[in-house]
Subunit: 274 residues, 2 copies
């Protein structure tokens, strides 16, 4: 058979009975199609389940051949497209694509009960005169408790320390079909001189927290109003959010766990070996 | 000029100064390339910033032309690929792709201090004899508090009611470069007869909670051990997680806010007009 003479595409086996093919050199689409056919036949004989193709964008001429061979899209990032093909006749158990974007908002309060606020030059609140808490998106691979410290620094120049997650909200269809998780974090300021350098920030200042909460855009929005009330309750010492603790898993990865450590911190920390 | 005679691709303007082109009929890739060139020139003249192409998988023959025209990948789902091109000379302000998958785990406890546990037939714990809490992935567009009720029902047949999020953890590179948020939820059982129908579940049962926490896979994993201690503390009435409240935003969307309602529930609920 023709396909048996053609070399298969270099591949790496994964831990779930699958195999990941990586295309790392340019080739003609017909040549790729025959290599792919040989590879599919080879991995099917090996009893593999999921076959993945990681296709860098510079080889976009090969996308069509993969789709014609039965592959479907799984996910894409700016520089590559991941395609997948499920070999068995049973329903696939392939992992879903990432479904959520994650955002953070900062409640930074100084000892004069002033909250750190910004005016945005763009987006939903651009040009509205609204003073809002600094917000931003969590980068891929970034921890929530670090992302919010970075955002506050970028937008206002203020150094802060993460205290806790006060609340979070989940919303849907925020961007095409994707969902969104937004974490409101309380931060302790470690510096006080505002120096805004971010292009999307028009102005930044310290504002009495009651003035913040009295703004119409807060009062007229049920969600913003709730969040402001939570912040005020926290400020009066009557609220506990989720603080973070860094734990290590069996595989050696370090991950943050967020929980209410009001009553069990001493218990948990006593048993933690760092 | 040639391109001026060619009809532009049908497009819809978005709220951020961008435009989304949708390809909804088959065409030759050269014809598409010239239509795309005309469209790019048209939207540039209109002062647009981001140009998106939503390309259904059946038109995979056109991917290469879009990339050659300067588009890059933004994201993909099984049935389409989204490409984007930033027209201005300034750095792009395009929204990032979804970065996180979201999972849920259930702490379901009956009045005899027994926790609902399962043995999985596949994956990391398949064939290990480990009794673990039911877990699963949150579907796109699904609320955390509903996803966990669905998962428990699918895996054990037990009807439950969401009580609160006890804790959550964030981890990275869980799947290719994507991050992962996992929410541990406490649920109140509303039925007690176990009927497991999910193919990935080997067995399910009610297990004394102390026996659950004493299993080596829990004790030897810092994170699992923490979570078990949080559950036990909750059970003894000394812990408050985040419960959920459904709020409506100005755009009429309904979103869940998760927060500690131990001290401010009455205050917040009093001002909530449902």
């Amino acid at each position: 058979m023709e396909s048996e003479k053609i070399e298969v595409i270099s591949a790496e086996e994964d831990k779930h009975g699958g195999v990941i093919l990586t295309v790392n050199k340019s080739m003609d689409s017909l040549f790729f199609a025959s290599k792919l056919k040989a590879s599919m036949s080879h991995w099917k004989q090996q009893g593999k389940k999921g076959m993945w193709i990681n296709l860098p964008i510079q080889h976009s001429n090969l996308v069509d051949s993969a789709v014609k061979a039965g592959f479907r899209y799984h996910h894409a990032e700016p520089d590559y497209l991941m395609l997948v093909y499920w070999i068995p006749d049973t329903p696939d158990t392939l992992p879903a694509n990432a479904s959520h974007r994650v955002g953070v908002g900062a409640f930074v309060i100084n000892s004069k009960r002033e909250v750190l606020v910004v005016q945005e030059s763009d987006g939903r609140f651009g040009g509205t005169g609204v003073w809002k808490m600094p917000t931003g998106a969590v980068d891929e691979g970034e921890d929530i408790c670090n992302a919010i410290v970075r955002e506050v620094k970028e937008e206002t120049g203020i150094e802060t320390e993460f205290v806790e997650v006060l609340a979070f909200r989940q919303s849907h269809e925020s961007f095409f079909q994707k969902s969104d998780l937004f974490f409101v974090c309380m931060l302790q300021p470690r510096s006080f001189d505002i120096q805004s350098q971010a292009s999307e920030i028009e102005a930044a200042k310290w504002m009495p927290v009651e003035d913040y909460a009295a703004q119409p855009f807060v009062q007229e929005n049920e969600l913003f109003d709730f969040i402001a009330k939570i912040c005020l309750t926290k400020l009066d010492g009557n609220y506990t959010g989720f603080s973070s603790i860094c734990t290590s898993t069996s595989s050696g990865k370090r991950t943050y766990l967020y929980f209410n450590n009001d009553t069990i911190a001493s218990h948990l920390l006593a048993s933690k070996h760092e």
